[in-house]
């Protein structure tokens, strides 16, 4: 059997005396759409930061498609095929929407930061950039500075930059944060479309999105995963109801 796309074993993370992640074991098979839910402060974003290399775990190992990536730098992890988005929009505000996506496309097509070839003449880059922009429905905004986009559009661009690097594993950190109902419906369809054939790991608070999109769900409470299962079984899980859904429903 092939190695899981992402595999965490015994991962912990402490900041000083405070343990945020208290031993997480998780295996996400390739091609799965996996959501991580949990109350505020459960450590969901920290977990993403550990997987993507923004932080190094205190102990434990993280594997990407079987290869140990524990403690590697974000750029190295990205080059191995993992891309992420951010909860707080993290784009290049003064660059055009086109440039934002093109920078990520360059990497995906294997270009190093060279200075002896004109960027406009690199084969395939423009076509691929246009393709990504069309898929995130920002084609008409190509020339606009990214910082001038409306909020939902910036969120879409955030996803666009993440998928542009052609990673096989995508981490989306609260992609719908701050979106209106219609926008988040739209974004759900978009995410389903652009992550087809890839492994998706997603943190999200909007339960409609989570239950509509995820193949499996993990529930993270106080730095521990208390359950990992299909959406139906998670909905019925008593421990989960007490720890999380009960609170949300109240």
């Amino acid at each position: 059997m092939a190695a899981p796309a992402v595999e965490l074993s015994g991962v912990t993370k402490s900041f000083g005396a405070t343990q945020i992640i208290a031993g997480v074991d998780l295996a996400v098979p390739a091609g799965e759409r996996h959501a991580i839910i949990g109350p505020n402060g459960a450590g969901k974003s920290t977990l993403f930061n550990l997987i993507s290399g923004r932080l190094s775990p205190t102990s434990g190992t993280i594997r990407l498609e079987g290869a140990d990536i524990t403690g590697q730098r974000p750029a190295a992890i990205n080059r191995r095929g993992l891309a992420r988005s951010f909860q707080v929009t993290n784009i290049f505000p003064k660059l055009s929407v086109w440039e934002n996506v093109r920078c990520a496309v360059l990497r995906a097509m294997g270009y190093r930061p060279i200075f002896w070839r004109g960027i406009e003449h690199l084969p395939g880059v423009a076509a691929r950039t246009a393709e990504i922009l069309d898929s995130i429905r920002l084609g008409h905004r190509a020339a606009m500075p990214a910082g001038m986009l409306a909020y939902a559009e910036q969120r879409a661009l955030e996803i666009g930059i993440s998928i542009a690097s052609d990673a096989r594993v995508i981490l989306l950190d609260e992609p719908m944060a701050g979106m209106s109902h219609s926008e988040s419906e739209h974004a759900t369809a978009l995410i389903r479309e652009v992550t087809a054939g890839r492994t998706l790991l997603m943190v999200e608070h909007d339960m409609a999105v989570v239950f509509g999109l995820a193949d499996r769900i993990s529930v993270l409470v106080y730095g521990r995963i208390i359950a990992t299962d299909t959406p139906e079984r998670i909905r019925e899980n008593r421990a989960v109801q007490e720890a999380y859904l009960g609170v949300a429903a109240a």
Binding site: P113, G139, R141, A150
Partner: protein, 440 residues
Amino acid sequence: MTDLVERAPAGDWAGGQTEKAVRPRTGGRLGHVVPWVIAAAILLAAPQIFTSGGSLTMMSLMGIMIVFALSYNMLLGQTGLLSFGHAVYYGLGAFFTVHAMNAVTAGRLPVPLAAMPLVGAVTGLAFGIVLGAVSTRRAGTVFAMISLGLAELVASGSHILHSFFGGEEGITTNRTKMLRLFDLSFGPQIQVYYLIAVWCLICAVLMYAITRTPLGRLCNAVRENPERVEFIGYEPQTVRLTAFCLSAMFAGVAGSLAAINFEIVNVSYLSLHQSGVVLLAAFIGGIGHFVGPVIGAVVVTLLQVSLSDLTEIWQLYFGLMFIAIVMFAPGGIAGLAMMHGPLIRAGTAHRLIPSYLLALVPALVMLAGLIALIEMAFRALVKAGDGTAMTLFRIPLDVAGPLPWIIALLVAGGGFLAFRATWPRVAEAWDAAATAAKEA
């Protein structure tokens, strides 16, 4: 004021846009060639228009400064690295060039003078690699402080290593004793001017070309958001270091050109003052646009040469001008000019002229009053030994009496009040022109 770039309306995205992505307009092949042809024509024709020896010298200095300021902007404007030590690469390029020239002359080697800027390029590049590896690990304040420390280190080291740097007297050379091509002796300043002009054009074209490569665009991305760059698979440090080395290389060329022009290099080439001048030139011209440092280099050189003829305290005016730009026009001269681009394209820019002229008159009056106050204070406080009588704007006056002071104060204050009264008119005209431009 009306913004010319409109923000995208909220709620539009979920509306199911179907418009296809189009690569943003980049000006086309012709749009890239035409400005360079114009630049080459200006460089070629300038000595025919400004024929005096003084202006030839000044234009040579401008060419050197353009290369230096453009190289500086590869760091500050393109990559977001604020360096306080760019003169290190300029100065070392100059010193190595002078020594190379002397070695070539002594050994009668078949090397023409025109090739000597390559020595500066290699020198700048080599020191850029070594010192850049140390300083580009971090951006922001850390980078700025390290650049300052390295500059101080090199500057003080140059005072100690007397045999290589020659101390205050410096190292001299003779540019006419090298291999002659096409019978060019490089004795006359006009030949040196054209040598500088050719190198200036080559460097500017190369630096512009670099902005349009993967490196150039990633430099912008690193400037904007280095963390995001890491998460799309690039190391910001690699991007910074590459930009730093190339920038140092072009600074080395500028140093070479200076060495050729003056035939003498001393430790002041490496000084913090020199690093400051290039920062000022880039900033005054505008770091947000490629042509900004070119404008800045021309303006700063012009001021350095002409203001120093007019007043002893020209550096004070220079500083005041820098402060005014930082406070009121952070985009520099180029930024101010570019602001009008959309209006010019829409053909509504001419509507601004009356209000600009209206504001210009009291602004000049205010400026005259301020200059009078500064010059009189300078005479009364610093140059008291020369007596209290002086001539200002060709008017004889005596700073001992109160009358000149009162008049100068009234002129400056009245000018300011009148100037301020014109601001609403300017804003109104701007809004009208911008609105008309949008409708056009």
